[in-house]
Amino acid sequence: MTEQTIVIEVMRYRPEQDQEPWPQRFTVPYSDDMSVLQGLQYIKDYLDESLSFRWSCRMAICGSCGMMVDGIPKLACKTFLRDYPGQVRIEALHHFPIERDLVVVLDDFMEKLERIQPYIIPKEPRALSEGEHLQTPAQLDLYAQFSSCINCLLCYAACPQYGLNSDFLGPGAIALLHRYNQDSRDGASQLRMQLIGAEEGVFNCTAVGYCSEVCPKQVDPANAVNLNKTQSAKDYFLRFVKPKGSCQ
């Protein structure tokens, strides 16, 4: 039985020798159960050991292997070669500077993650003796979806507004921000509101919606961002009416 092969075209970039990214074609034997990640690993193991790419869990939970597969942001471990008969084009995740080959510079996102204060800031200080926060399943439902984010950044690759203006907080950071705002244990919505309503905040979004289309965990970041447009507008118009430091 003849072996199936596929041509994997990878956009290479080696800063010490390349001026710009260039396509390199590899002919890779594959079976129907092989992921794009396995294809890349074959290339690295047998064809070109210099190929650089991030990966870890190979089961769509760590978020490391995000890349463009035929121009669409995908997790390489969750995308299968059998779905791309003949040839497939792999490129580093869009909208991020390319460090090398398929590895992108993530500093901007890391900085944004810190800025949104992604941790419970209780409404009032709570002593250990008071015991744990209690939360009902209904309260959990309010933020559970947004807590599923694996920080894979496919949504940033999907978001043209982030691509055009990297000051924009972006879908992932705002989804996580929303996750904490919606958590009944948290009391810092007003604090995070400053970021939401700032020039780098939610109003950069033009409701393209592609972020939610590509999210591998159905987080629906578009929902998080657009809901916060309403919240921010309320804050903008009602700030003179409400006394400072009032209800969340």
Binding site: P21, I72, P97, I98, P160, L164, A207, V208, Y210, N226
Partner: protein, 131 residues
């Protein structure tokens, strides 16, 4: 020695490279036709202000084949605006819980389009009744 030289890819022509983005630009472009219609109405208001001769001139212009064709194009684009407005609406609403279950995106969109149908019929009947 630091050999790092991160490469920033240009965004030129980004929207042409993915059918999802092409559709996005089309439905954003519907705004041009909304503006066009608003300007047609604005001209009408100015003609109304100027007296019956001007008003009838505006009505005559609207009756020309070119104008009717233009309005059919405007209708298609404004209709597309309505459709895409309610297609994206589920993303802009908080979870709507009815009888313990969250309203699906399909349900929200269908309700919105039903509202368009309802308003359209109401408006037609209003015009019909007022004549």
């Amino acid at each position: 020695m630091n050999q790092r030289r991160p490469y920033v890819r240009p965004m030129t022509g980004w929207w042409k490279k993915n059918p999802y983005f092409v559709e996005y630009m089309v439905h954003e472009g519907s705004a041009l036709f909304v503006a066009l219609y608003a300007i047609v109405l604005l001209v009408g208001v100015l003609c109304l202000m100027s007296g019956p001769a001007a008003w009838n001139g505006w009505l005559a212009a609207l009756a020309s084949p070119l104008s009717v064709l233009l309005h059919l194009i405007i209708l298609a684009m404004v209709g597309y605006h309505s459709y895409t407005w309610f297609k994206i609406m589920p993303r802009t609403l908080p979870p709507v819980i009815i009888a313990g279950r969250r309203l699906s995106a399909r349900c929200i969109t269908t309700s919105g389009l039903a509202a368009v149908a309802f308003c359209s019929v109401a408006l037609w009947l209003l015009a019909w009744g007022c004549a």
